[in-house]
Symmetry: C2
Amino acid sequence: MHFTSESSADGVTRRHFTLDGVPGVLWRPDGPPLGGRPLVLLGHGGGGHKLGPGVVDRADRCVRRHGFAAVALDAPGHGERARSAQDERFATEIGELLAAGRPISAWVARHTAALAERAVPEWVAVLDALEAAEADGGRVGGLGPVGFWGLSLGSVIGIPLAAAEPRIAAAVFGLTGHASQTEAAARVGVPVEFLLQWDDELVPREGALALFGALGSSEKTLHANPGGHVDVPELELESSERFLARHLLRAE
Amino acid sequence: MHFTSESSADGVTRRHFTLDGVPGVLWRPDGPPLGGRPLVLLGHGGGGHKLGPGVVDRADRCVRRHGFAAVALDAPGHGERARSAQDERFATEIGELLAAGRPISAWVARHTAALAERAVPEWVAVLDALEAAEADGGRVGGLGPVGFWGLSLGSVIGIPLAAAEPRIAAAVFGLTGHASQTEAAARVGVPVEFLLQWDDELVPREGALALFGALGSSEKTLHANPGGHVDVPELELESSERFLARHLLRAE
């Protein structure tokens, strides 16, 4: 893990890093290193990146309101990362299919599942590196309880990540739902808050409901609201923040 | 409206009343009358009554935490009210049907719809009487923004009530869902928080989802959690309390 730059504003330190070619950002309160404080992994949506406005806003809230740390990565084919020919094709074709009013759910599921296969080990490696940083006497230091927050593509990656990664103690998922995700969902055991948009033009309602049902967690809650894929109400962002704070503080 | 008794404990005044033979209870902070403060109508579930533990607990919270007033009535055939032969039959048969593992949804919907037809005008009359009490120089006085909180039978009554009664500004519904409720649901326009139990043994999941979808409100939110009909998590009761407080304070 190579830290490439560091800045600070309004009490929030922002450190850019790369790990095996994956660019990421760590946010934490100014001053001492992680020191066992809760850490929230922020997964961006399809077409977004680690410094998209929603990601930065949530990172700022994690740090300022709760004193947590937060980390975001560019998903494969996103942000500063090179796009493969397949990524380019996907970005072009999704617009064409949507414009033509064709169903895209299975096609999106196939492409994003391939991204998730690459992204899950990248997140695990970042957790390993952050955990090791303290032993190195580094400035990051010390992994506390870990939460995951990511909708849409963020959940396509986050669900198999939470299924595989025992350091994750609670997760916010949503805006996704395809049969190909069922098996991983069943292996998720931690508390989940799952967001569904009732009129989601990209995710069939039945698929999202079935995915919520498939989650293996005994403690899980579904919040559904009217509106399309990008219309998640502000109140739900606050609710998911409360949800993570509650579980991560409990896990400390 | 005849007030039959009054008591006070821990800052909460409790006043029993009857109106045209319907027994009810009004809770409010000790001291001055309603005086325009928000009022929450509490609808109990099937087999419950106006002083059931859940109702009293919610009334206490309305008063102590928020300074609101609250009112509960015995639904037709419940609590202190006489049971008709049909009510008696219902109470006997529901146990037999459940024990036999037979589907009860349509049968419950038919019986509770008949109760709702009687209960809706009773709630309207109580609101009229509370509103009039101030003009009479009475001790109750002054109707502020009105919220409704009621699950299961409470919602079977509350949905047509909220459809018909413009004084209701926000409502918490849930644990119900039958096609016979669709038409009234479509006429509800106020913000709704709707609770669904994912493994509800009394209410088919599809019916509850369809009823949420049918609500005419542009601002509505569905909260679903694992567990059976009576397993609504404590956190959801707190969420629904926050929801009502937010909307009733905004409506003041």
